[in-house]
Amino acid sequence: MELKELFDHSNVSLDLKAGSKDEVLLELIDLLKLETKAKEMLFKMLKKRENLGSTGIGKSFAIPHCRSLVVDKLNVGFGRHKQGLDFNSIDGKPAHFFFLIVAPPIEISNYYLPVLGKVAQFCKTQDIGSKLQKLERVEEFLELLNKA
């Protein structure tokens, strides 16, 4: 599965407004269009996952991810925080770009780890941070994924 197939206007936000790690997780969860209860549970699960080791992989990227029963298929979201915020990233620097990945505990297609790997790879692309920072429209983000 290609990354471009997973993203569209509904799950991309180029203007995250969060002021903390928790708020950014909530804003990302909002992109997934879940019920309130499901959102709460997913938030708790993502927080617990973060406690085991931060998903801030450095170079301005964070990829919060987990498996949860609240979804029945792989769900993803992307958010950009222009100013950046502290996400306990491994390089100690603020994170600006957030990919959220959530999958059910058992998926027949088993896309979770491969997609996580592809996103991590995408984040390591040269100059990708500056390109993402310059984006003005969601279409441009989708084009970037197309080229990746």
Partner: protein, 108 residues
């Protein structure tokens, strides 16, 4: 559901190959022992009767919870009875599959 998610995460991080993959991708799991503590916290908040039943089901099946879709338990793939509250859209009701005994939940 949260407990099962945590147990699933625990199983995942106990799998050496999965942890290796995570680390290759750049996700260090340096505090993975904290999962036990979290599971203890969550189980302490559960209704003891329900938790005992959860454990009994967990002895039998890997996933004690199963989703219901179109009236079918996705644990054993047998139709739930038509009177099932999950089918009638009732919320906050804990139901068990009549066939396999798994705790049922509905996904929207």
């Amino acid at each position: 559901m949260f407990l099962q998610d945590l147990l699933c995460l625990k199983k995942e991080i106990q799998d050496f190959q999965v942890v290796e993959k995570y680390e290759e991708m750049g996700f260090p799991l340096d505090k993975k022992e904290q999962i036990e503590e979290t599971i203890k916290e969550v189980t302490a908040q559960l209704d003891p009767v329900l938790y005992r039943r959860f454990l009994r089901i967990a002895e039998k099946y890997d996933r004690p919870l199963a989703p219901v879709k179109n009236g079918v338990c996705y644990g054993c793939f047998v139709s739930a009875p038509t009177g099932s509250k999950l089918i009638t859209q009732a919320k906050d009701v804990i139901e068990f599959c009549n066939h396999c005994g798994r705790i049922l939940y509905k996904i929207n």
